[in-house]
Symmetry: C2
Subunit: 111 residues, 2 copies
């Protein structure tokens, strides 16, 4: 995991776009955040919301998002055990950006 | 190339975020568009602006962005031949989204 993320802070020109992509770039993270924000806050719900993501990829993305303090993982000690994710206060700063992304997508789909 | 992009239109729930990510998701495309928009409009200039992208990856990203009509490729017949890229009218619809991304990045870098 560490090895996979070795370039995650590489930003030689202090570029804002690079910084964003280092945090949540790639094919999945923005979608995972968007899913959790829309109530798909458990692993099985996220798998339904994002049917084309593999199980291992979803595990990795959630782990990295937790590491980066963008989402938080809460484990409920009950039988059967239950784990929920929610967006952290820091992660919520991304929501207006994701809204802009969504608006572009919806508009472009109609075009 | 076709094989690599086989899922690029997969969007079972007509999700705006998925649509955006299908178009320009991944680690590089937004950065390539941002570079071209800031005057790094030739292959060698983009390599300097994005030093951590491999040559083959940059070739692929440019090819896909041209295929998707987000950028345009102009070949100047001269010696030595020269190729320039610029953002298409369609691609320009992405610039406000990229600006929002950049603003988040710059703000988060200061935090």
């Amino acid at each position: 995991m560490d090895n996979k993320r070795k370039n995650k802070d590489f930003n030689p020109y202090n570029c804002g776009v690079t910084h964003f992509l280092n945090k949540v770039g790639g094919k999945w993270k923005v979608l995972v955040i968007h899913g959790i924000n829309n109530g798909y806050n458990r692993f099985s719900l996220l798998q339904k919301a994002i049917p084309h993501i593999s199980k291992q990829m979803l595990i990795n993305q959630l782990k990295e998002l937790v590491e980066d303090k963008i989402i938080e993982r809460t484990e409920f000690v009950q039988i059967p055990p239950r784990v929920e994710y929610h967006i952290s206060a820091y992660g919520k700063t991304l929501l207006p950006v994701i809204l802009t992304i969504q608006e572009w997508g919806l508009k472009d789909m109609k075009a």
